[in-house]
Amino acid sequence: MSESQMSARPQQSANKVIDFAFSCLVLSWPRSSRDWAVAMQSELSEIDNPQESLCWLAGGIMSLGKAWWNQLICGGNPQEVATVKLPGVTAAILLVLAISSFALPGMRQGVVAIFDTWNFSRSYLSAAQLQKMGYEAEQNRDASTLAFVAMRLPANSLDKVRWADLAVSLDPSLTWVYFQMQDERQHPDAHFSERVAWLQKWDPDNAIPYLMEAQQSFHGFASTENGSPAQWVTSPNDQDHATEMAKHPLWVAVMEKAFRSPHFNDYQNERFNLNLAVQRKFGMNRPVDLVYSTIAGRIPDLLNIRSYAKWLTYNGVQRETAGDNSGATEDYWRAAHFAQRMQLESASDGIERLIAISMLQDSFQKLKDLYERTGRSDEARYAAFEIENAKAASVAFRENNWRLAESTSLPAWSAFMIHISSILILVTAVFSCVTILWIALRIGGAPKSRLALHKSACLIARIAPALLLLSLGLFYANYFPYLRSFNEASPRFAQNLTRTFGVLLQVPFTFSQFWTYGRGAVYFWTGFLTIGCISVLVLLIRMPARGKMEKQIA
């Protein structure tokens, strides 16, 4: 097709759009070489095929990238020194606005929370800081702070137990702290039994203090006589299992007390309340710390509980065989009652609830079989109903957890945006400060030296404050729901808090794994090194050329 024929063709709407896009491209072209962009655009009038026009536009975009690259590396025309535009009042106002946005308490808290997640620290209080807090609390006779410190200090700290004792003596309502601070599996304490006895006395209707006592001996014999404690539950030979257990009547007696207790409270709420109260008292305002502390709450040994429940049902079967149906019924019911209490009083997404449901199914199955054999059809129907209930609860638990796992990917976008905007805040803040400092130092200096860098600095100083303010706005808008979740934190909403912030914590871990493990790490580091090497090489090659160019013009 000749040029005259092409010029005669009607303008297609697609070409108009492309022409408009090219006009935008021309505007964003570096001023020093903008004529070339106009030259490229003028050729569009000769192209009648929209596909070719699109290719021409794509070429324009590529050339724009190259033009900007040349502009940044080689700099513009050094004769243009007079046209360099310094950042003005607008940039200053934007910067002041950005800085003043930190007056919002939520903004400060959010930024601190994100930096906490980047540190991967589980607790921002070091052992030395905790020690200091403990000494001050000891002087002030501050029971809650002492209990807080005792819970967090490492097991080998000499003051850990002393401060816990002092906290309990000052405020006996904190006696539960012995359960949340003690880990008898790692470091058996000489005075452990004494403290468990205090806890049993303070909270006699709770199964937990008895479980504490029992699990200490359980770990003693289960791990030495028959492999790991897990084998006690998974062992196919119930008889061997029962024979071993019968050798430890003390453990059996304490577990019986635990299973007969009317309550099952593992003091998670008390732990959460204490953490929140102390954090607010000291103005710590650190959501990540509270979340980790909540997640790290101690639960009783579930293998110990499972072993005893299994032993009870085994004994029931033996009694049934011996014709002692009432004794068997009593054993099955004891396991079932404990499982019901455990199910009712544990967290809805906790592993304790899943174990309780499994125990319920086992014990009611035995009861159903027994009732059916003895012709007690009403009771058998009730047991069957409980089995169905337990099955439904098990399905609901799994679905709920599955939904939770799925839901983490939904709010992950907001978490992702928060992290991205935090990076932008950091980068733009650094650029704003560095470029403003650069410009301030150059005032009155030689105007022609390092012109390209000066031009870039001026450009960045004009743009960076606006981007900083934008990033801060983006950050606050995305962080606001998290802020509300933290402000409304209470034991009732503890799960919401851990789930909400769990998503925020997940992002740095996912990314750290991305560039430290697997295929992603290879791609990331290869790309990073390649781009880095190319950039350094180009800079090395082009920089002398720029210097030469400036000299020639001078």
């Binding site: 010029s7 005669a8 070489s33 030259a39 490229m40 050729e43 009038s45 794509a58 025309n77």
Partner: protein, 137 residues
């Protein structure tokens, strides 16, 4: 677009640059348009224009905006309302350099093709040598 530097610094003569030089040298006195050059050389605009820019920067390319009113062809074709186009041709220095670069490129391609014919012969010799070693062992 005045020439910024009359630098005689060597420019990398890539395959694309050579294709463009070939097109420009073919009709050295005639003005060329960007789109026509793109079609002739089969170069994308994203490749073509940066080369043109570099040539112009080194003083090897002359550029000029089309004057529509003065061009009788344009008036005949009814180009009213159309933007003026940019035109290119090699300068005298550019022509000399382009001829030299094209000749050098032809020389290199000849030596490359002679090396290419030697390659299979060498491979064949290696195979024969390998077979002999195997027989001896």
């Amino acid at each position: 677009m005045a020439t910024r530097l009359g630098s005689s610094k060597q420019m990398r003569t890539s395959k694309q640059t050579l294709a463009l030089l070939n097109a420009l040298v073919a009709k050295p006195t005639q003005w060329h348009y960007g789109y026509a050059l793109s079609r002739e050389t089969e170069l994308m605009s994203g490749t073509l224009y940066p080369i043109l820019m570099r040539l112009e920067e080194r003083g090897w390319l002359e550029t000029q905006w089309e004057n529509l009113q003065e061009t009788p062809e344009a008036q005949a074709e009814g180009r009213g309302g159309r933007p003026p186009r940019h035109m290119y041709r090699l300068t005298a220095g550019g022509r000399a350099w382009a001829t030299e670069a094209l000749a050098a490129a032809r020389g290199t391609s000849k030596s490359k093709s002679s090396r290419a014919t030697l390659k299979p012969a060498r491979q064949h010799a290696r195979i024969l040598l390998g077979e002999r070693i195997l027989e001896q062992s």
